[in-house]
């Protein structure tokens, strides 16, 4: 049955002819393609994309389908377990590459800023409404608590953060905290710290959505209650409008970002608590991906907010100018979220 060994020297065609089994001949005829695919996939897995010839990259999808069909045929005709296992592993590896993340980071970012982000924001609209309500309620609660009993102030704001902004401080001292810092040094470092800190807080607000969204809401209430308490303090000194200007210059961006982060967390929590007709894992997955899109943008917004807080607030030393900047930023963000990517989104919905 087995052929004399010296025929090995005659090369591949002889090997195919010599193979005793039809399934082994099938394999020997195709294994060059398999090994070529394995080489290409191996190189891509090793991250050496540049070393791959264009021919190979163009051939990749075709080779993948060829090998996938080889696997289908082999399953029906061959009992060679080693070859089947090899083909299964190879098809799986090629499948990871062919169906991997499709776009480069640059292309993804373009699509993201050109509409993907704002579509995701519009997709969590109801959650934004709830989060906004909770934030406003947080400010009101903070104000009322402190108005009834000033001892609450330190519970809400924290002694370290309060500094000389304490109940009973003179109007002059309070004025000094919101005006006249134009020549302060180290502003850029301050901005970077603000960004790092705020980004971490908003990631937290998002991630806490996993516990049905309730901790996200508590976090929003807690942060905004502090704001309400400080607002009460400055209002008492007749500086309410000036304090609003001091906050709004960066707050219109920063609070917007925190609003979106909290809403994204709430969106996830809602999808887990009330998955509707979908399986809970699928519902959570869809919500999680949408919320992740929103969150990427939140980090970008916080960079802008930190720049505004570190520079614009100190350099623009009067309330109308601060309102102008803050108001403009608010309108710009809102217009972007309402309008960007709408036409394309419409078409995509039609197709689906």
């Amino acid at each position: 049955m087995s052929a004399p060994p010296h025929e090995l020297l005659l090369g591949e065609s002889a090997a195919i002819a010599r193979a005793a089994l039809r399934s082994d001949r099938f394999r020997l005829e195709r294994e060059a393609d398999w090994q070529r695919l394995e080489r290409i996939v191996g190189r891509m897995e090793a991250g050496r994309l540049r070393g791959i010839p264009d021919d190979d990259l163009l051939a990749l999808p075709g080779l993948y389908r060829t090998v996938a069909s080889s696997l289908s045929i082999a399953r029906e005709t061959s009992l060679d377990a080693a070859t089947l296992a090899y083909l299964e592993a190879l098809v799986q590896r090629a499948w990871f590459v062919v169906y991997g993340p499709r776009s480069s980071l640059g292309a993804w970012l373009r699509g993201y800023l050109g509409g993907g982000w704002s579509r995701a924001v519009r997709g969590i609209g109801p959650d934004i409404a709830v989060a906004l309500f909770v934030m406003v309620a947080g400010v009101v609660v903070g104000w009322l608590l402190v108005a009834n009993n000033p001892d609450w102030y330190f519970a809400l704001v924290g002694r370290d953060m309060a500094g000389n902004r304490v109940p009973g401080a003179s109007a002059e001292a309070l004025r000094g905290t919101i005006f006249g810092n134009a020549h302060q040094n180290g502003m850029s470092v301050f901005a970077a710290q603000l960004f790092s800190n705020n980004a971490q807080v908003s990631i937290l607000a998002f991630a806490l959505g996993f516990a049905f969204g309730i901790p996200s809401l508590l976090l929003l209430v807690h942060n905004l209650a502090g704001l309400g308490a400080m607002f009460w303090l400055y209002h008492g000194a007749g500086l309410g409008i000036d304090f609003a200007g001091w906050i709004i210059v960066h707050g219109s961006t920063e609070l917007y970002a925190i609003l979106l982060a909290g809403a994204a967390g709430l969106h996830i929590g809602r999808s887990i608590a009330f998955p509707g007709e979908k399986p809970v894992l699928q519902s959570a997955g869809e919500a999680g991906r949408r919320a992740a899109l929103v969150m990427t943008g939140v980090v970008l917004m916080l960079i802008v907010a930190a720049l505004l807080e570190g520079f614009a607030r100190q350099l623009v030393d009067q309330t109308p100018g601060r309102f102008a900047i803050g108001g403009f930023m608010f309108l710009a963000w809102t217009a972007y979220f309402m309008l960007a990517g709408r036409a394309r989104g419409q078409r995509r919905n039609d197709r689906e």
């Binding site: 193979a19 996938a68 696997l71 009992l79 377990a81 089947l84 799986q92 990871f96 991630a207």
Partner: protein, 328 residues
């Protein structure tokens, strides 16, 4: 439409899943073991800490010592501005190491951080589940959103409780207890679901799989892999290999399961196990003419058994093992 699942003795069956590709092909995948994932995480954390320490030391060196950076960052001289710049770079770098390390590596074609690569695992899209019939999941495309979502959640799973614990200290009893509880809930999360998903995987719709790696083995029936070298050497000494022929009745006793066991033994090529198998087969079919020539005998039996079973497959007849009648 897959046939019999191939026996893989080394992998526990509970981690085997099938996915259905867009082309409609079922692929077996293996869920990464929890140990491999813990190992990957520990490796990655070590890498992150090393990166943080190295970049901190490097920046401090550039700044001419940490002390100088602290005392001179105030002021408006060019030197102070340069120091401020370094501090900003440092803050941003630490932020990126903490948040973007996993993101950066998992977004590439490998879908794995260095730690995951070392332990041989990768992430993949979990698919919508249940569409592929027979419990198979329909494999989808891994997207950037999934990678972002699963890594944002790492913050509450890992970094937040650690920071909290470090901040609270052991003496503040309740805070310590709460932080530990939090940490354990998320760390143990993968133990309490079938697919070893952590919270981030649930949110993102991903799972972690073993990275398959398998060499193409020689075709057994195309001639033995070892003899050619030996034969070329002492061709004139060794007798020509005997041709064993088996009758239909001798081949009909075994099925696919035994064929694959025989294939494994032939590939491993351990003399003791080959002898044992030879004795079992020769005893069963009542032959004793392969004595002292077991490997050639078994190869011939393997080839002819496979030819018979594959011919049956082409006609739609399969025989799973020695106990089963041929299914029609």
């Amino acid at each position: 439409m897959i046939g019999k699942r191939l026996p893989r003795p080394s992998i526990s069956r509970t981690r085997q899943r099938t996915i259905v590709t867009a082309e409609g092909i079922t692929l077996p995948v293996t869920i990464a073991s929890r140990g491999a994932r813990a190992g990957a995480l520990i490796l990655d954390l070590i890498f992150v800490v090393v990166l943080m320490v190295v970049s901190t030391v490097a920046l401090a060196q550039i700044a001419g010592g940490v002390g100088a950076a602290m005392s001179n960052a105030e002021g408006t001289s060019p030197a102070a501005r340069a120091l401020q710049m370094l501090v900003i770079v440092w803050i941003i770098l630490l932020f990126l190491f903490r948040n973007a390390y996993f993101l950066f590596f998992e977004l590439g074609p490998r879908g794995a951080t260095p730690g995951k690569r070392i332990t041989g695992i990768r992430i993949a899209a979990r698919g919508n589940g249940g569409e592929g019939g027979g419990g198979g999941e329909s494999g989808g495309r891994l997207t950037a959103e999934m990678v972002i979502a699963r890594n944002l959640l790492r913050d509450i799973e890992l970094f937040l409780p650690i920071v909290f614990l470090a901040g609270a200290g052991v003496d503040s009893g309740w805070a310590w207890l709460a932080g530990t509880g939090w940490f354990l809930i998320f760390m143990l999360f993968p133990l309490f679901n079938r697919d070893a998903l952590r919270a981030g995987d649930v949110i993102a719709g991903t799972w972690v799989l073993e990275r398959p790696k398998r060499k193409l083995e020689a075709a057994l029936s195309a001639g033995p892999a070892t003899p050619p070298a030996r034969a070329a050497h002492d061709d004139d000494v060794a007798p020509p290999p005997r041709a064993y022929r088996f009758t239909e009745a001798e081949l009909a006793v075994y099925g696919e399961f035994e064929l694959q066991a025989l294939e494994r033994a032939l590939r491993e090529n351990r003399e003791a196990s080959l002898d044992a198998i030879y004795l079992a087969i020769a005893g069963k079919i009542g032959r004793n003419d392969g004595w002292g020539d077991e490997r050639v005998f078994l190869e011939a039996y393997y080839t002819q058994l496979r030819a018979r079973l594959e011919a049956g497959m082409r006609m739609g007849r399969r025989k799973a093992d020695k106990h089963s009648e041929e299914a029609r």
